[in-house]
């Protein structure tokens, strides 16, 4: 590794951004950023949501031209810019939100992503390239490349997208930008990816690695760049950073281990929500008033399905109930969360319109009051609630979805891994709200892929293959126990009886 670093220190940088400034209207997204990526290094890019990480990535991949400053690929100062030029220099990008065409097969998506695949027989070459790359990065992946991407699970799509970016079809990738690549992968897949990144970098390739999971960045990157408010505030080799140091550099309070939640005696012995064992296997599900119930296990093992079932069991199928029983916070914002064309306020108030209306007309004054209240309570960062929802950063959009669910009077809130790709500051704010709402008697059912979120729950159900395989309470909730339980098989009910 050291040898690689030395030999590359004199070599031409893959990309060189000098004093890049970008502003969107009055908002300054980048206030003069210098970023040089050399061959054979993995640069970890960290910072809060809205710190400018996505913007600098978009400048590097050619999607955005800087308003001031220069961008040079392989030292060509006056070279062409734009998406095609960036790709021509071997710059590939895996975006935070999945960006494949769901109606096309894996092979056809490879064709879209690689313009160099021309002429007769491109199908065969694309299939060979993507298959070998998938096998190389994720051994034992079981993805059928002739299937439409829309038929794959979210983790499989992410795997395909990563493999497409690394694939070498006539034109080798020089710099791969990974924006939150592990957010929809479970621990073992994420580890396979990180291992591949390390070998790729050791072989002379470059990677920009963006992640909110600081442990991943510390274990994978050779150099870490910290961004804050559109500037680079720290740029040092990884060895000089610790987790606490990174968080400090990002400018947020170090998240101390919270187990300050006082164990409350469960006043009611009657569960507020319960489900029989799933598919006749495993344990039944119960939730009590004022409880924080976590759903853990590897991603895609039936947690979301159970949330949906819980929702259906408590909400009218055809007619909306006058007094809502459950509220749902979506994890996949684009798919079942936001209304992209609506304002922030409308996105927030849509679930509580019955409460806001008089004689089936919406009381607008009331609606604005509700908006202002929640804007203050969970600090939605916007000058005006009438702005479009897409004007917010991802984390703030997620806050609006939270506010939507909490503004409803429903005693039960279901959360479908809503903190995916949200920065630590926002997370802490939301954890506090969740905790105080639970104190007030609300029940939260929380599916999460992140261990520290599961660890703040009162009780945790661990899933495997669609069934609940373990129930952990209070002191038993720790990473070790959850991981161990994730790999146990569900006991069949019949066998027990």
């Amino acid at each position: 590794m050291n040898q690689a670093m030395n030999s590359h220190s004199q070599s031409v940088p893959v990309v060189e951004a000098r004093d890049v400034k970008v502003s969107f209207g009055a908002v300054r997204a980048l206030a003069g950023v210098d970023l040089v990526i050399r061959p054979g290094e993995c640069v970890g890019l960290v910072g809060h949501n809205g710190a400018g990480k996505s913007t600098i990535v978009n400048v590097i991949n050619g999607g955005l031209s800087p308003h001031e400053g220069t961008i040079a690929y392989k030292g060509e100062e006056r070279g062409r810019t734009g998406i095609a030029a960036a790709r021509g220099h071997g710059i590939r990008c895996v975006f935070q939100e999945l960006s494949l065409c769901p109606n096309l097969t894996v092979i056809e998506n490879t064709r879209i992503m690689h313009r160099a695949l021309t002429g007769w027989g491109w199908r065969g070459r694309a299939a060979a390239a993507i298959r070998s790359k998938l096998d190389e990065i994720f051994p034992g992946h079981r993805i059928d490349c002739s299937r439409a991407v829309g038929d794959l699970s979210i983790a499989e799509r992410q795997m395909v997208e990563i493999a497409t970016a690394f694939a070498d079809v006539g034109q080798a990738p020089k710099l791969v930008i990974l924006d939150e690549p592990t957010s929809s992968l479970d621990a073992s897949l994420a580890e396979q990816l990180l291992a591949h990144v390390r070998t790729y970098v050791a072989g002379g390739g470059s990677v920009i690695f963006i992640s909110h999971i600081l442990g991943e960045v510390l274990s994978t990157a050779t150099r870490i760049v910290v961004m804050k408010d559109g500037r680079v505030v720290a740029d040092r080799p990884t060895a000089e950073f610790t987790q606490a140091g990174l968080v400090q550099a990002m400018g947020s309070v170090v998240a101390e281990k919270k187990d300050a939640r006082v164990a409350r005696a469960l006043t009611t012995s009657e569960p507020i929500l319960s489900l029989p064992p799933r598919h006749g296997r495993g344990l039944p599900f119960k939730a009590f008033r004022g409880e924080l119930v976590g759903l853990a296990g590897l991603s895609g093992h039936g947690q979301t399905d159970m949330l949906v079932d819980l929702y259906h069991s408590r909400s009218g199928n055809w007619l909306r109930r006058g007094n809502p029983q459950v509220a749902f916070v979506a994890g996949d914002r684009g798919y079942n969360g936001t209304f992209p064309l609506w304002s922030i306020l409308n996105n927030l108030s849509v679930a509580s319109l019955t409460d806001l209306s008089r004689a089936s007309l919406i009381d607008e004054r009331h609606e604005v009051e509700l908006g202002e209240e929640w804007k203050r309570r969970i600090a939605i960062r916007t000058p005006d609630m009438e702005n479009g929802i897409l004007s917010l950063s991802g984390g703030n959009q997620q806050k609006v979805l939270f506010a939507r669910a909490l503004a409803v009077r429903a005693p039960i809130v279901l959360m479908d891994d809503p903190m995916r790709g949200v920065d630590i500051g926002t997370k802490q704010e939301v954890y506090d709200i969740v905790r105080s709402e639970a104190e007030n008697g609300r029940t939260f059912i929380w599916y999460s892929t992140e261990m520290d979120e599961i660890c703040i729950c009162d009780r945790v159900y661990v899933f495997n293959s669609g069934a609940i395989v373990a129930e952990l309470t209070r002191n038993d909730i720790n990473e070790e126990n959850i991981l161990a339980a994730s790999f146990t098989e569900a006991v069949t009910r019949e066998a027990v009886a």
Binding site: I83, L100, E108, R111, R115, A148
Partner: protein
Amino acid sequence: MKLNLSTDSVRLLIPALSLTVLLCAVFYLQPRAMSYTGLNLLFNLAVPITLATIAQMLIMTVNDLDLSMGTFVSFVACVAATFLPTDPLIGAAILLAAIAAYAVLGIVIHVRELPSIVVTLGMSFVWGGLAVLILPAPGGQAPVWARLLMTSKPPLVPMAIVASIVIAVVTHFIVMRSSFGVLIRGVGGNTRSVERAGWSIIAARGGAYALAAFFAVLAGIALVGLTTSADANIALRYTLLSIAGVILGGGEFVGGRVSPVGAVIGALTLTLAGSFLSFLRISPDWQIGAQGAILIIVLALRLLLNRLEKREKGR
């Protein structure tokens, strides 16, 4: 068994099944239709409808809808019945200009982010007006070659069937197998990711529209070849027929999910539904309603199958 079927083949199953059922019903009601001449008569008018359906399908691939398909085919028919036989060069130039106009439409719709429904609805009056200008009263004459082609009698299988198969194979190759087809379906599926891969969306949209116009031109010429004369209102109902054909054949309004083979089958089914109802001696007053009922039944079957498929996947 069913688990191994891909989504695409499931998509094709219902249209193929409904065509078979309808064909069996027609043969049962009128056994004499089961002959070379009978089949030819049954499916003759399907050829232009099939071509128009393919044109509509190409527009729907890029998430747009063409409400001017009927008037455009009428306009082409009028050009084909007036200029093509007498001044082939001028006729060809007009048709090429019309294809170019479609490409420009596609580009304008993309660049200005206009709703395609509004633009094409407006264009339908333009095409209708041009058709009336070219051919104020019904008449004209089909080009000899178009007439010969449409009335030719290949051995064993009637012309209409041969044409449908050729159209299905050619468009399947263009839309499902070629790079261009992947590109325009990609635009329908996720425009942003195609753009991020460095493709020109303008070229893709323009290309899809131009190709659609090309197939619509073929539809107009085929129609004149069958009817021998034209009229400015000759193909008005093609707009809705073509949309119904695409949907019937397993296509969807958005998301770039289309099937050329399905679209051809859908167009054939729609043509056959008309004959079927005549054979049943349903009065013409009720025929349109009955045709609608057939559509609803087939689409309901498709929804049912989709649901079954989802349930199996969840298992």
